[in-house]
Amino acid sequence: MSATSPTDALSYYGRPIIKEPVWESDIPLYFFTGGLAGASDLLALGAQLSGNSRLRTSALASATFGVAISPYLLIKDLGRPLRFLNMLRVFKVTSPLSVGTWIFSAESTATGIAAACRLFGVLPRVRATAQVLAGLIGPAQATYTGALVAQSVVPAWHEARRELPVVFAASAAASAGGAAAILTPAEQAGPARRLGVIGGVAEVAASKLMEKRLGQLVGSVYHEGEAAKYSRLARASTLAGTGLMALAGRRRAGAVAAGALLLTGSLCNRFAVYHAGKQSARDPHHTSILQKERGGRAVTQPSNRAGNGSSPAASTR
């Protein structure tokens, strides 16, 4: 129970009202790899349009890494992994996961074609077309995951519905810039460095804004437990990476260190959001107090009845 939760608010033996998300760490990992792929494909498209073929290859490599590892993470997390294809039975706009399945399928197919053409040095026009498609789908790929978690009853996610897609987009930009800066010689890596800096600044600012807008009750999850740990690590790492990229990104060692810091920051940020949701779902008061405030009713004052279920009861087996 969070320190800011009024302990005199009502609950049923302190039990959660909603259920904690059942997703394991594969899912925040996918938010990272999927975001990296989406933003990298967009970066590769930019490089293609500006004739920077070295950067195009690096960014395509990051995107390929992202779309290659993501299906493993997504399928592994399913309760019945062999039935992953059932996601392709339907298209539902009310379900960001359904929409996202199709976005990811298109993104990974286009990226795969572009990468195969590059690898075997064949079909340059097919490669260019596939890269255009992958680049255009990229922004959707990098942001739908923010919509996916926002579309839930988890207070720390749903109440951040306006900010979460921006946080995820910024985080994706920072990671794509960082990865491409590591993989590209300094001469050709200018846009990657700038994307890393833009993304890093935006990621820290958007995350800060999100926490603030969540308010004291729900926002407190980012100051407790695992969410606090990852949130602090993400901020420190991203800030350091952004500064280093701006100051020493033209030097090889500087670019590698800054890129690694940006990637670490992006990864930790996804875990911070993930744990914030789990912690918020566990606290019945996040759900009940928010709903009462929204309903314009004052939070019920503690009743004078003792033992009404809000006191933690001893558990025996």
Partner: protein, 275 residues
Amino acid sequence: MKPGDGVETYGREAQPRVGFFTDTSVCIGCKACEVACKEWNLVPDDGLVWTGNSYDNSGELSANTWRHVAFIEQEAPDPLKRGKHDFRWLMESDVCKHCTHAGCLDVCPTGAIFRTEFGTVVIQDDVCNGCGYCVTACPFGVITKRELGGDGGMHKCTLCYDRLQDGMEPACAKACPTDSIQFGPLDELVERARERCGDLVEAGVSEARLYLADENDGIGGAGAFFLLLDEPEVYGLPPQPIVPTKNLGTIWGAAAVAAGALAAGVAAAFLGSGK
């Protein structure tokens, strides 16, 4: 009460919407509903755990508990006993609410969760792939993943869909010895519930209230609604639940803005550089 979202797709096969009215004022906490549900639906045993929370040893609704009786012990005069006691029991048999606007159904990416011809919400076990998105979309914490025996799927109350198709009432309602759980056409149930609530208030039980019987609430009203004798949170229920898809437009809008910002950011990264 409105028919549930999507029931109109059945055309002439659509049936009158049915549901549960759970009147907690006559619940005696016998748990016959929990047992009948487990028996009929072959819901597996998930262990015997003494929670220490009054007589409640099933704890909460889950994939393996489709009816759950809550027990609350309060030091308060029992209005039904005319103030002779300073202690009262609250008992409530909880169940899936079969919402008019169901979050689980809205977000299910496989189409495993569907609206039946009776307006109820059911998971098709042979389609569900266990992605878990419905768990995060339920305002009541009804659905979870069944981990027992490597099942991996999501499970919840079906309102005994198989029994409904044969014109029978659900097992829990059938087994309830006090008619605390009443099954029937939703319109009739709501009418009866309003009358019962009015009678109770008139008899001096001023805290009696209907929960989820209003079709203008955040879920469009429920197929399973309740008469409660205290605040919903006391029973572990959300006070003013809202289906998360109510904000769908805002969420997709925010994602579109974020995608646009990302494109602008990448464009900015290329500005001023030839390469």
